[in-house]
Symmetry: C2
């Protein structure tokens, strides 16, 4: 399967990865969440090739994750800002941060810690059930065929039917 085909899979993970699943995109978005908006600043922080960055930003705009806003004329220049769709990737960032902090810290503790301003505490993000608030583990969750699954797809995976 080629990469440009994966977005057609009836799977939200595959579809999400078709947008953010390459080498650089999530790092570009990390910078967005840290407040970076301009081409040169992305490039300096990330150390990636200019045309690669150009591609990635363009793709993210196409996908509606970022939008281009002019910040000057003469010459016309744009900055890149997160849309709502982009901001909604924050939990993806946090889940990667959490895992990296725990398993990839080389015994030195997390490089960055996070304060949750409303409650004032240093926070560790936790993924919980929207209904009961308990932390979610794979063992306790059963995937089942949903409305967006075409009939023929069901055999492809092992989803239970509701």
């Amino acid at each position: 399967m080629r990469w440009d085909e994966i977005e057609n899979q009836p799977c939200s993970i595959a579809r999400s990865l078709s947008v953010v699943g390459d080498r650089w995109t999530l790092l570009v978005l990390r910078e967005c969440f840290l407040g970076v908006r301009r081409f040169e600043e992305f490039r300096e922080h990330l150390g990636m090739a200019r045309h690669r960055l150009s591609d990635r930003l363009g793709r993210l705009v196409e996908e509606g994750v970022l939008r281009k806003e002019p910040y000057q004329d003469k010459p016309l220049r744009h900055e890149y800002r997160l849309t709502d769709k982009g901001k909604d990737l924050y939990p993806v960032m946090l889940s990667l941060v959490r895992w990296g902090d725990h398993w990839m810290d080389r015994g030195k503790g997390p490089p960055v810690v996070y304060r949750h301003n409303p409650c004032g505490h240093m926070t560790t993000p936790v993924m919980v059930c929207s209904e009961c608030g308990e932390a979610l583990t794979a063992r306790d969750v059963t995937p089942m065929a949903g409305p967006g699954l075409r009939r023929g797809d069901k055999r492809l995976h092992r989803y239970n039917t509701a």
Copy 2:
């Protein structure tokens, strides 16, 4: 920056991505969470080139995300199972699922829905603060330099100091 250098960044996102940030790895892990364990079954579900799958599984074993367990001798055959480190990637999966369900569903609703067995409800995963239980948004969270950040790195990003 080349890909094999990103794991050295003082950033948990970069470090996580050095393990799971390529085209296929998270899809391989999706299959793991669905109960797939054997080479041929991964290949059939994913439709990826055999040697690519071989690489990825090998890398995941190296990184301690999967472990190889023999399931027969003559000829010796192994299956691949999630370690604790691997199981702990479940929130990463869920966060991608959540985003894809919401923004990439093509108006047809999610292809797969999830039941949280302990509470019996269909669940939507939410990322919350470990301390107060409120949902986390980028605006409400302030990143600050942590113990794993080397002194010289601080200027590289915009982290506040604690």
